[in-house]
Symmetry: C2
Subunit: 218 residues, 2 copies
């Protein structure tokens, strides 16, 4: 079959199709396994991949919560707005299945960690616990939430504290050891990816680039 370049005018594309295109193509995405606590004390955990770090000074992360009616992930937003606190746990190969189980739409009164037998560690910088099995956890305080209509809210949070499992960071250089960490990324649909096939690219200075071009013109 012959295929051609495809172009989409997004004004003519249904939001569900836009979601499929955007999440299928903007990959790989990091996964925030977000733990929150309700005012009744129920500890909730749910995964979000419309997520990233956005700043180091102040240290900020963002994640986008789907608020379409009937979708259970709204618990996360209710809890964040009630307590202004959340913990972003990161995901490795060993915890990927547990993270995926937290996407099961549990009723709000039933906390995923308890239902799934995931042990918790009390927060050091807020009321929300982290997941004991997570390789990395970031305790966050909600700074603000931006609403973008009926389907999406973007939570912006400041990272107050970061915890890593032994071996994930070199304690001297603070470099990440990905062979120990074994992070997992989000692709489209039901797909995920391991990150063991890595490569390094150094960046040249402008002078180095010009010197190279003088020798071997582009």
């Amino acid at each position: 079959m012959t295929t051609a370049d495809l172009s989409f005018d997004f004004a003519d594309v249904h939001p569900d199709t836009r979601y499929k295109l955007l999440t299928g193509l903007v990959v790989p995405r990091p996964i925030a396994w977000v733990v929150t606590k309700s005012t009744e004390g129920v500890v909730n955990a749910a995964p979000f991949s419309l997520f990233n770090v956005i700043s180091e000074d102040p240290p900020l992360v963002v994640f986008s919560v789907d608020t379409k009616p009937g979708d259970r992930v709204k618990d996360t937003l209710v809890n964040v707005h009630a307590t202004r606190a959340f913990v972003v746990n990161l995901v490795d190969a060993a915890t990927a299945q547990a993270m995926n189980n937290c996407a099961i739409p549990f009723p709000p009164e039933e906390g995923e960690p308890e239902a799934l037998g995931i042990p918790l560690v009390p927060g050091t910088h807020g009321p929300v616990p982290r997941l004991a099995i997570a390789p990395v956890a970031m305790e966050c305080r909600q700074v603000t939430t931006l609403n973008f209509g009926p389907r999406r809210d973007l939570v912006i949070g400041e990272v107050l504290a970061l915890h890593t499992r032994a071996g994930v960071l070199d304690p001297k250089t603070l470099r990440t050891d990905y062979d120990v960490y074994q992070p997992v990324g989000r692709m489209g649909g039901t797909m995920y990816a391991h990150l063991n096939d890595r490569f390094s690219m150094e960046r040249e200075s402008y002078d180095e680039f010009r010197a190279r071009m003088a020798k071997e013109p582009a």
Copy 2:
């Protein structure tokens, strides 16, 4: 050597160290290879990995621009604010080196695509061209920019149009073919990753989960 779990109170950690920790651990990140155009007509291209999709309705992306003094990536922000237009090109294995070359700090009057010999395709939904070699490109209109102090600005943009190279999407199902696409993700430091080691996880319904637990308790 014995290692232990590590914890960091971010109030006590220098911003440069926070950057190293956050970008080393929040992985893999998608890469936005952002093209902008100055009011003088210079076409600029620069990579950003503090980037993601955040919404489908409206269709929105965010990327964070480092604005610390002396850093050349500020050109992107100047151009976005002058024209309110930008194009997010995505990166594959074949274009990774060209993307990395666009991180060389060129002077503002010298456009990376021209200096590096990267061909352009005129925009269909705005004044900014896309990179002809990119597997995916999204023409965007700036919605707003959030400033977070002297070092960071978060650009929020609406996706007006999306273009894909032949074969990246199945034209009938609009599913992404990652074996054709060959996307590349950003890790910490100078590291990147290929995404060929993929796996799928289906999500259970709550009833399926309960039925499974009744048979084989956790």
